[in-house]
Symmetry: C2
Subunit: 299 residues, 2 copies
């Protein structure tokens, strides 16, 4: 693989996820913080109109607008976020004016994500980057959405290499100092890794192992015939992201006090539990399976 | 004072505060839960279009739309929420089709409110109601917004008696089982009190005392010249609602890591710390002073 020539730091893909927005503004105000010698660092506020409004999006979730073939079939070309997606793709995508090699997209979630890195593909560059960041901060959780379709329609899908930072729990529309600082540290760590990579001095990963949470499916809330939610996340499951959920474990508590249990056959590790933006998408939690990734995978 | 003839239970004054919305739907589905013998109980979803959209409001915060004189001066009559406010006022206000004597408005906040009751006036009926609820649940916090102007422009301002339930911390757009159940219990407690009141059997409050948090002012985030926020709530202040803030105590942490301290002269008790909807209103926290209210105040 060639050297990384250009990195794009993105915030505000969702207009109400404030940490990424304010970090990008900070980087734009003090570019030396993100400048490195072997590549160019660019910044982008993904959805300016939604940022202005303080909402996730105006017409459609921008982070679901980059599968242009599907968009064309749905005849959604007039939507603001579709137009914005085209602009971003034409500027930073392959063949664009300033094609970037790596995107770092900064997000937050109301789920108890802690500090999560989302990978869409398990290529060697990305795995080594993540292993490097995980060595610096062993509390990081790593979620592979490779099987979820996100690598086709997300903003970060316009480049070959990308990483999504997802921190929580954080109410949308708010800031929190620790999560702000941890996101910032991950951005610097990523830039430092790219610098090492370009200089041929990446850390040996022979003794490194990673725990991956791999996407396997989603669970919606119990709903009535007209689609109204009928339950909350069960108190024993709320905030328990990455914790094992076994067959028979409580999953929801109905508004009348009844417990609904997990009916699957295998142990799963739910994440994105009670994410606000997923209510309308019909997702109460994302189910993952846990995988230990050892150095033999790193190639 | 005459008997209470009609009580209005409101949810969804803000379309992304889900607990009140789903409680109102539950009450509409099972009206016996809120029926009492001595008065009529009605329900209302305040802002249907915002509920549909999952946002706080469409054009303007509905809970700031009921000062019709001010609205006229601002020429905002075309806004959706102004029209909705007129409908609500004409239906449930004094002189309306179904005038109500008491409104219970159910809200949630991203601040660490716990279970808070907001009073706009310190009349004897309201104080005795609150003392009754506080005796059932001693963890309740009582905030008097009498000096904040909220009694002029809020939805609940259309009646003589009203109480606002505010629970948190809860990310807007999400549910949480404990806060759902505690809100529900407060609604039932309020209805039970009104039933006792109408029947002349209110509990003696001779030995009762209340702690009130009285509005005294607001503090905005530090901002730069173009209005962009430059700091988060300080980690030592985040989630510390109702805790004393003394002169010199940390209040904000700037994005560069600097601490900004409280410069006031007296001890205050901040609430609504880091409420998402208040960023656009220029409010980082609401300052209160603590007052012990003993039975001599109850008249």
């Amino acid at each position: 693989m060639d050297a990384i020539k250009r990195v794009l730091l993105v915030g505000g893909t969702h207009g109400n996820e404030l940490i990424g927005i304010h970090l990008v503004r900070k980087f734009e105000h003090r570019p030396t913080l993100v400048a490195r010698s072997s590549f160019e660092t660019l910044t982008l506020l993904g959805n300016p109109r939604a940022i202005e409004k303080g909402s996730r999006y105006i017409d459609k979730d921008l982070n679901r607008c980059f599968d242009f073939q599907a968009i064309q079939q749905k005849q959604q070309g007039h939507l603001y976020e579709i137009q914005r997606a085209r602009e971003i793709s034409q500027k930073f995508g392959s063949g664009g004016q300033l094609p970037v090699d790596l995107i770092v997209d900064q997000h937050s979630t109301t789920a108890n994500a802690g500090i999560m890195l989302i990978l869409d593909s398990l290529d060697t560059f990305t795995l080594k980057l993540v292993a490097y960041l995980n060595a610096i901060n062993p509390d990081i959780k790593i979620y592979s959405s490779a099987k979820s379709g996100r690598k086709r329609d997300s903003l970060r899908s316009i480049t070959n290499y990308r990483i999504c930072i997802e921190v929580g729990p954080l109410a949308h529309g708010t800031l929190q100092s620790e999560l702000f600082q941890q996101t910032e540290a991950l951005v610097y760590g990523t830039l430092d890794y790219v610098e090492r990579y370009n200089n041929g001095s990446t850390i040996s990963l022979e003794k490194q192992s990673l725990t991956l949470y791999n996407y396997i499916g989603m669970v919606d809330y119990p709903r009535n015939q007209i689609g109204d939610i009928q339950a909350t996340i069960h108190p024993q499951r709320q905030y328990q992201d990455y914790k094992a959920m076994n067959p028979g474990d409580p999953m929801f508590l109905t508004f009348d006090g009844g417990t609904i249990t997990y009916q699957g056959d295998t142990t799963v590790y739910p994440i994105f539990i009670n994410e606000a933006a997923y209510y309308e998408k019909g997702i109460a939690m994302v189910l993952t399976e846990k995988q230990n990734y050892t150095n033999r995978h790193f190639g």
